[in-house]
Symmetry: C2
């Protein structure tokens, strides 16, 4: 386990040795302080257990001209959900890493007409963690979904590139 580092330019360093609740609070503070758009999105961490991360945001600040979820907001919240899942998974393992989204794909299947809730599941990524430990780099493909009126409305897939930090 790494000890808490002093302030660096990459706050993902600060995840080590924290409990799950502490990790979640630290993550939300990180969004607010270092990713200004998250304040405009109004996004909050709704739920995290080891396998599931849910982010939520009111619809009002995120509407398009049709009064439904703006494509850019839906993507941003989905991508943030994937990025945050990896940030938390590294933190739970006492690891520090730089996480960058390399590629994103999103399908808008139906309009989002209610509170935006993005859900990301973390399945078996043992091979990626082994690769990260051996080479210092790994790719984590993740998906996130947003439902509306009980049906899947948005499907996001992202390829996240993680680099270990000493």
């Amino acid at each position: 386990m790494r000890v808490l580092p002093t302030a660096t330019t990459d706050m993902s360093d600060s995840a080590a040795s924290l409990t799950r609740d502490e990790l979640c609070r630290e993550l939300e503070a990180l969004w607010r302080e270092r990713i200004p758009l998250t304040r405009a999105l109004g996004v909050a961490l709704r739920r995290f257990d080891d396998a599931t991360l849910e982010l939520a945001a009111d619809l009002a600040p995120n509407v398009n001209i049709h009064g439904t979820g703006f494509a850019g907001s839906l993507y941003s919240i989905s991508a943030l959900c994937g990025w945050s899942m990896i940030h938390l998974q590294l933190g739970l393992r006492g690891l520090a890493g730089s996480i960058v989204l390399a590629e994103g794909r999103i399908r808008y299947l139906r309009p989002v007409t209610e509170e935006i809730v993005a859900v990301c599941l973390f399945d078996d990524h043992d091979a990626a963690f082994t690769e990260l430990a051996h080479s210092g780099r790994a790719r984590f493909p993740l998906t996130a979904k947003i439902a509306s009126a009980g049906k899947v409305a948005v499907e996001f897939e992202g390829d996240f590139a993680v680099k270990s930090q000493a």
Copy 2:
């Protein structure tokens, strides 16, 4: 050519019979009034001729924890650039339509470390306009790119679904 409609729930109706400059000003007003996230992005219409649309936004409100362009901001500005290009092209033709992004794909090739400028080119879409005139619906695949330090940093592809409005 359609005459200017009375106020409706879909402002894309209001494009008919306007000059290019009027279309651009109307579009920016539409963003500000009906897509709140565009205010947080700080995005502005930089340039439009019949074939090229450029949107620009300061980096500061759009940074990630690395101090470079946030993936969500880069996607949102790219997608808005594509959507706006179709909105303007319909307006130039005196057409009214509902424009919805059905699917988006984006590759982040290098960090964006300067003002974010998204560029969308409008090539030959005659077949799509013919389809729109005949069936009332058409798909417009569009790309947008963002450069940084003189190299392509972001490549966006979107499939926009357009539906004619009576």
